[in-house]
């Protein structure tokens, strides 16, 4: 069964601080006890396939957000490559692309939803303008089309169109997350990066966001990389799951297998902590 991955990451290293010759044998968790540098991502490799949700779980500081933000060009990798099927037929790592090309990838091929909506939205612009900004960045200048697209997307995420002219700073956390999702979808990306999108939301709003992600997957066939602390969210949405610890992938597999038959000591600890 031959399938071409939408995204393929190889040997990603993200290090904060200069390395020393003793780093390799002096890592305590992900920090070198000699020079103090932090190996936030340490040789990560993964693949995301068309239409699948790949879940990423792990404790705080395990490198999940570093991975997402490196993929979205917010952080520069120390080493490694990432190829996207929709960028030059996966012939060049996105991290070798020019700044202009990276902008194009962010606007047309990938969408990102941050845990903190402040990172992904312009809080003082209207919800519709946030979406329009993304569409303009992709090259469109047709105001009527932009309004129509913003209306369609906000309706899809259940934001009343009567509120599309309001700034997200006036919205609740759940509404801000949904505006972020609609903004990320503005240009029909093939890959959506979702970083803890349900954290901090109350249960009913969380259910709305989960339902929305499920619909996005079913309707648009978009591949999703989903970071979450919440194993229930992962169980419901992810086809496959990766478990991270101290900047490394310690286990990966089918989501139900990871949750029902975890192999690694940390994964067992994580699953046994489920309430």
């Amino acid at each position: 069964m031959l399938e071409t991955p939408v995204l393929s990451v190889k040997d990603l290293v993200v290090r904060y601080g200069e390395a020393c010759p003793k780093c390799a044998e002096s890592l305590e968790k992900n920090r070198c006890s000699v020079c103090g540098c932090v190996w936030a991502a340490n040789n990560l490799s993964l693949e995301v396939y068309p239409g699948e949700v790949l879940g990423i779980v792990g404790e705080s500081g395990s490198g999940k957000t570093t991975l997402m933000r490196t993929l979205y060009f917010d952080i520069a990798p120390t080493a490694g490559s990432a190829v996207l099927h929709d960028y030059k037929d996966a012939s060049q790592s996105i991290w070798e692309a020019s700044t202009a090309e990276q902008r194009m990838i962010k606007n047309n091929i990938m969408g990102m939803v941050y845990q903190n909506p402040v990172m992904g939205l312009r809080m003082n612009y209207s919800a519709a303008s946030n979406i329009a900004e993304k569409i303009i960045a992709a090259g469109s200048r047709n105001a009527a089309q932009m309004t129509a697209r913003a209306t369609e997307l906000l309706e899809a995420v259940e934001i009343l169109t009567s509120r599309m002219s309001e700034a997200p700073k006036n919205f609740s956390g759940g509404m801000q997350q949904r505006v972020q999702i609609s903004k990320a979808l503005a240009n029909n990306p093939s890959l959506l990066l979702l970083d803890e999108v349900t954290t901090g939301l109350d249960l009913s709003v969380q259910a709305k966001v989960l339902d929305l992600i499920r619909k996005i997957k079913a309707q648009y066939g978009i591949s999703i990389l989903l970071v979450s602390h919440d194993l229930a969210v992962i169980r419901m949405l992810a086809d496959r799951t990766i478990v991270m610890l101290d900047g490394k992938i310690v286990e990966s597999g089918l989501t139900d297998q990871i949750l029902e038959d975890p192999q690694h000591a940390y994964t067992q600890q994580l699953v046994h902590s489920l309430i």
Binding site: A207, A218, M236, L254, D261
Partner: protein, 231 residues
């Protein structure tokens, strides 16, 4: 024609804390032919569900081979197949019914049944028609179709579970105590649809505590004791 051959399947769980190995099933071998129904009996904790979960790959087998004859992929060893292959088989060919209902929040009973077909790239219209037919078959009252199943009784949940698994007419269907907590009338419905599926060449493996029910539908019965096939 053989559809599944289990060869020397063993499964143990190693718990890092406290450093303990728990043996679940040991050296199990059996063959399932097309359109055949195998029943598995045994005491609680004997390892019956482990066999089904290894076939479904919810558990990773410790040893042994599970050869499945896939319509699309040919002969596949389920214990070593890639995750993408397993996901494909679960979408199109293999069904699993457990005693527990796992539904997305804000998903109605009808949408839950439809989701199995939409996953198979079926149109929404066709999926809705088939889902309604299946829900009617299992006598789930029409008033419940557009309701979230969180409010359903145990029996209603089980019927919904069965409808979700059977609506896609899988080639291989695994049933883990699907009739527990069902009344006699519903058991008869389940028996009839299992016989219907069997008539349509669906191969099945089921775990039942109800011996009478099992005698009605099964061609072969295996007895598991302490993780080992005894008869």
């Amino acid at each position: 024609m053989e559809i599944l051959r289990i060869e020397n399947l063993s499964k143990s769980f190693y718990l890092h804390y406290p450093g303990l190995e728990i043996r679940s099933c040991h050296d199990v071998s059996m063959t399932l032919n097309k359109g055949e129904f195998i029943g598995i009996v045994g005491a609680s904790g004997a390892g019956k569900s482990t066999i089904l979960k290894c076939i479904n790959r919810s558990y990773l087998p410790s040893q042994g081979e599970l050869w499945y004859d896939s319509e699309a992929l040919g002969k596949v060893n389920l214990s070593t197949a890639t995750e993408r292959e397993i996901l494909y088989l679960r979408r199109f060919e293999i069904g699993y019914v457990s005693q527990f209902l796992n539904v997305m929040p804000r998903t109605t009973a009808k949408e839950h049944v439809m989701s199995a077909l939409i996953d198979m790239d079926c149109t929404t219209k066709q999926a809705e028609a088939d889902a309604k037919e299946m829900l009617s078959y299992f006598k789930l009252p029409e008033t419940l179709w557009d309701i979230y199943p969180v409010t359903f009784s145990g029996g209603e949940r089980l019927r919904l579970n069965l409808a979700h698994a059977m609506v896609k007419k899988p080639r291989l269907l695994m049933l883990d105590e699907p009739t527990a907590s069902l009344d006699n009338k519903t058991k008869i419905l389940v028996r009839d649809i299992l016989l219907e599926l069997k008539g349509a060449d669906t191969s099945m493996i089921g775990i039942f505590h109800d011996i009478e029910f099992m005698e009605d539908v099964c061609d072969k019965v295996f007895n598991i004791s302490d993780g080992t096939l005894v008869s």
